[in-house]
């Protein structure tokens, strides 16, 4: 018997009023696999992640985690499934009111009821894993640079040692060197945990570096997917236009003067 994919989205539809965002999207992520979904702004990348996490509810389709259908689950079951996930948000989404160490340990203290002293030690250990010293733990998130905030967010995402990690635009807003540092940390952390990863980005350098497989989303559908090394020979006009950053091609940007 073949093993069920870690995540399986099938024919997922989601619209906000008349605006269709996901239009029959299907995608799978295998165990231990790192999949990156590329696509322009407003093509439905973030909505896809939020549908899997239950933050948004699709109108139609199926989303399975470890072979278990998650759409229509009751809140308690959904919470249990969410324990398998870690997520790095685009803007880091660190809690301003808490010091850095408590941000990292948050899921352990609140979600898993770990003792605060133990959770603090674990947070310091995770901060070290992303290259930050214990003194950073006492600072407030507002005192950190963008790159450091991303590292803290990464430490928080991996703190509870999740089986699946989502990365939402992990390198957006960072300089190229810091972006590469974050990419290396993502690869290291995902490998160490043996986790499955689903990332969304429009940064091709990042996608090429962290992905085993790349999928391209356009108008709420996956228009191409394949191993990372084949992306330059995809033969898909959407992918070609996107990876070369050309204004001319089948992808039309809505530009109003």
């Amino acid at each position: 018997m073949t093993e069920a994919p870690k995540i399986e989205l099938r024919d997922v539809h989601k619209a906000f009023g008349p605006k269709v965002v996901l239009d029959g999207l299907s995608l799978t992520v295998g165990k231990g696999e790192s999949v990156v979904v590329i696509g322009g702004s407003g093509t439905g990348k973030s909505v896809m992640l939020k549908c899997v996490l239950g933050l948004l509810v699709p109108e139609k389709g199926s989303i399975k985690v470890d072979g278990q259908e998650v759409l229509g689950m009751d809140p308690a079951e959904r919470e249990e499934v969410l324990r398998k996930f870690g997520m790095l948000f685009q803007g880091s989404a660190l809690f301003d009111s808490l010091p850095v160490w408590e941000n990292v340990a948050f899921g352990l203290i609140q979600g898993r009821r770990m003792e605060r002293t133990k959770a603090r030690d674990k947070a310091i250990e995770k901060l070290a894993q992303v290259g930050l010293g214990p003194e950073v733990g006492e600072l407030s998130p507002a005192e950190l640079s963008g790159g450091m905030q991303k590292r803290v967010a990464l430490a928080r995402a991996i703190a509870a040692e999740p089986e699946i990690i989502f990365f939402d635009e992990p390198t957006t807003g960072l300089d190229p060197i810091m972006a590469d540092v974050i990419n290396n940390l993502i690869i290291k952390c995902v490998r160490e945990l043996g986790a499955s990863a689903l990332s969304i980005t429009h940064d091709m350098a990042s996608a090429r570096k962290i992905a085993d497989r790349i999928a391209m989303i356009y108008k709420g559908k996956i228009v191409w997917q394949g191993p990372t090394k084949t992306i330059d020979q995809s033969g898909n006009p959407y992918v070609d236009q996107f990876i070369h950053g050309r204004a001319e091609g089948p992808i039309k940007m809505e530009v109003k003067v």
């Binding site: 996490l53 809690f95 009111s97």
Partner: protein, 258 residues
Amino acid sequence: MLDFLATIGRVIIAFLVTTGRLSLFTAQAVGHCVRPPFFFRLILRQMVEIGYYSLPVVGLTTIFSGMVLALQSYTGFARFSAEGAVATVVVLSMTRELGPVLAGLMVAGRIGAAMAAEIGTMRVTEQIDALTTLSTNPMKYLVAPRLIAGLTMLPILVLVGDIIGIFGGYLISVYKLGFNAATYITKTFEYLETIDVVSGLVKAAVFGFLVTLMGCYHGYHSKGGAQGVGAATTNAVVSASILILVFNYFITELFFSR
């Protein structure tokens, strides 16, 4: 004609949608207030924020209101030689009406706005989504502690405010208007009944709940960045203030209509 009817229809639908959403939010929030687990550390923090840090504002408001009340009722009552009723007017007005309403409005401005801004910022910066992904229910973590703190701390604030307001009336009556101190104090308690204080405290609890509910509701549903957070803050203060005045009438009717 059809356009006019469509506009009325849209307004009614929008009103019903908001009422339904607010009712669901309230039911969900109350459910989380009474079901464990409870975040005691957060409840305590909110209690300090609402109760302790609002004391100067409420104290200043009530002391000057008590002073003005004594002065106004003295000059007004002097027209028909009823100056002796000043102490009774001050104590009844403070405990039944001015204490809870003024404290409610002040806390709506201070706490309701702050809650809407804080929760609204958390919404637009995805911090609320982050809570969900960290296996923490945002309603339980953010809303329930604030509602519990509002419900319990406002009556205490109002009780302190009542005492300060009555003391303000005493200061003006004794040191400016020349009342005898002992007589004034006796008059203060002569006609004061338990229901006067209790009705004020019930009002305070309801106002505390409304202020925190509006702050949380508007913050939780804010969208669109800084402008959305600004709108949520304004809506929280305006809706809480209106609800305080509306509920003030109904609670007064409940306690004192004959």
